[in-house]
Amino acid sequence: MNFFMLVVKQLSKIYPSAKRWAYRFHGGVFPRYNKSLSASQPIRPQLIPEKLILPLQQQVGLPACPIVQVGDKVKKNQLLAKPSKDPQKALSVPIHAPTSGTIIAIEEATLAHPSGLEGVCIILQPDGANQAIENALEVDGSLPKTPVELKSVLLKSGIVGMGGAGFPTYAKLPNERGRIHTLLINGAECEPFITCDDLLMQTQAEAIIKGALLTAEALGAERIICGIETNKPAAIQAMKKAAASTSVEIKEVATVYPMGGQKQLTLELTGIETPHDSHAVDIGLLMMNVATLTAIYRAVSLGDPLTSRLVTVSGLGLEKPFNMDVMIGTPFNSLAQAAKPKVKLDYPLVMGGPMMGFQVKSNEVPVLKTTNCVLANPPEPVDMQMPCIRCGECMDVCPVNLLPQQMYWYSQAHEFDKVEKLQVFDCIECGCCSYVCPSHIPLVQYYRHAKSEIKAIHAEEKAVELAKQRHEFKLARIEREKQEREARLKAKKEAVKQAAAKTEDSSEKTPAKKAAGAAAAARAAAAKRAMQKGNKPSSGSDKAMPSARLKAIEAAKKAAQNSELEAGSTASMKSSTGDAKSKARQAAQKAAQKRAQKVKAQSEPANKDAKTNLKSESSSPTKEPSAEAISLDLTQTSEATTASKKEAARKAAMQAARAAAKKRKVSSSDHQVSSDKPSGERSDNQTHQQDENSDKRQKAMEAARKRAKQRQAEKNQAADNQENT
């Protein structure tokens, strides 16, 4: 193997691509590393800045929810913001105070994000005392036995993946023990300039190994493999020493960019290529950065939350680059100033390395949990972008085997569906293609743009689908409400009619006193029928629905019996009438409501038939008394027959009811919300009838005289119906 390496090294002088034989994944580039700038310096003591800026959202997912207020004094490791919502469902991690001090503001500040947008941050003014809460996470020092135990500690400690992606670590772990068979440790820090992981491995190898062991123990992983690039000999030595008596394997991997990429290092260490639409966890692998493992060790054994991290402050524009255990929230500028910039820092600093990092909008942005490097490279003249010459260099260096020039071509033409088909979402944005492009095309920028456009398109599609669903639901709801309203109206009609029938029945016993009421009820029923008639004039189809008719009659009889009992038992006649009436009405209403659905389903004429028959059935025995009542009320009538009188009254009531119905329709369409409507409308209806009774009656008499013969005919028909039933 070493001989092979030697050959490769010699051969690469005349054939540079020979270097690629030394590792397993495709492509990769060999930039100038510039790591000695900061790697040669010892780790500097922690710097306490004037203020710490702690963004509530430092990772993918949802922002945390602050639990402190402006003016609060806090100690180091104190919880400042708790995860919002259920952290098992939505990714969210807590934030702890990196040092003791006072909360001076909770306000919007520029985020260390390529967008340069502002986000809500907790501003902490350190008091310099650095008073800490020991064991803030309240751990008892025992090692977690199951992934769930480990996850709860990780969630409380606010640990996120510290290699750069910033995915909350607790969310990365599976819940079941044994799903992970191999734990991979990422010590391949491949970006130029960055040396924080290198120095971490040199100085805290023990902690890394312990963190890895306890994680593997909790997850039930059998193997632990650590990959370190060959350009970190000191780190390899330290790690090998720390891992000597443990099961951790230390593997040297070739120095190539992007060896530190998760999928690349996985392939290099295990020979397994992660399938395009699955995560490493799905194939039993879990990779963690050395810094993450240190944080896990500190959280589990010491109870320290994640409040600081090793950060490289480097760049060609700094005189004294260094590494430092930096508090989360330290502004970039104060770090850069501590490294003695060669010229005034009037250019934007870069978060991350030169390949994947981005320029920050303001140099006052804070260090995040994912910040591994603050880079100060003075601006260089940018090479002019030239048209693509289709040389294919980018394709040769792409570590994920994509077709960069095709993707570029389509993104430029805004044919995003085609870009997506070329698997742009597998692009790790490593920047190799841009690095080698002879036309200096910022390829990665095109892919990032395409990715965000595609995401927006998908979001839009979802929104459109949602809007459609909601619109259709609204239409359905309106339709349903309409039907319900109709059903209610119908039920109410039934109820009134039933009440009328009952009152007439009960009025047999107390004809004189109940006559007026019965007449009114009869009129109401007539009105109902008339309304129906007005809607659909078809009186011929009487025998159409005998079953409905029978049921209606039966219900009416039952209700009538009830009311009879009531009437009989009550002493005072007046009150008994009222009681019987109301009780009967209630019973009738219930029956009607029960029947309402059936009625709804049945056709309009059938409905009407039922009513007509019910009417005639129930009214026929009470013909005499009700007629008497009317004659009592209207003393001037002598020539008209009792039946025609009744018919006339009905006609009049019908008109009144029509008016009332119209009114009600208007009002019901105005107030759609009325669960109490039936009762309200019932009383409404009755008052209407009573109000209009007197003049309606007079009108009715006239009408009756005019149409006496007509009525007679109708009466005959009604009698026929009765016989039929």
Partner: protein, 183 residues
């Protein structure tokens, strides 16, 4: 000669039967064109096309009752897609609608809202929350930006504003070709 005629006759009958059977067996229910058009419409349900929602418009276009250039929120893009589906000639949009507008969502000035519920009734996607004499508010992510609620407000407290960009939905800008001033 006779054989040939017979053979071809037999073939004709056979294929005729086949086709007849297929037309019954694989009959397409409804109008698939309307479905297709409905799919590409922006579903704002704004009614600017003169139809009470996107689906009625899609059906009208499919039945050749409506022009293909009536969808204002969709703009030229949707018009061209409809013309591709229907095979009709692309028709110019009104100049105001030719360029698709930036997405906006309704925002209720909660200090001014009198709780009249007029906007709630108007909203095609039930994105407005509120009750009588109570302050209303818009669920931003449900709002389609149809602007139907704006004219009905008696106190003009509804504004259309572009939704706020967060780091989560921020888009990387497109690099300009052959530019130097970008950095």
């Amino acid at each position: 000669m006779i054989e040939a005629i017979l053979i071809f006759l037999a073939l004709a009958v056979l294929f005729g039967l086949l086709l007849g059977y297929a037309s019954i067996r694989f009959k397409v229910e409804g109008n698939p064109e309307a479905e297709q058009i409905d799919k590409i419409l922006p579903q704002t349900q704004c009614g600017q096309c003169g139809y009470p929602g996107c689906k009625p418009y899609a059906e009208a276009v499919a039945n050749r009752e409506a022009d293909i250039n009536q969808c204002i929120p969709g703009g030229n893009e949707v018009m061209i897609k409809i013309s591709e589906i229907t095979g009709l000639e692309p028709k110019a949009m009104d100049e105001a609608a030719a360029e698709p507008k930036e997405k906006e969502v309704a925002f209720i000035n909660e200090d001014l809202c009198i709780g009249c519920v007029l906007c709630i009734k108007e909203c095609p996607v039930d994105a407005i929350l509120g009750a009588t004499k109570m302050m209303h508010t818009v669920i931003e992510k449900e709002c389609t930006g149809c602007e139907l609620c704006v004219p009905v407000c008696p106190v003009d407290c509804i504004d259309m504003i572009p939704p706020k960009v967060t780091p989560n939905d921020w888009k990387w800008p497109e690099p300009n070709f052959l530019n130097e001033d970008d950095r």
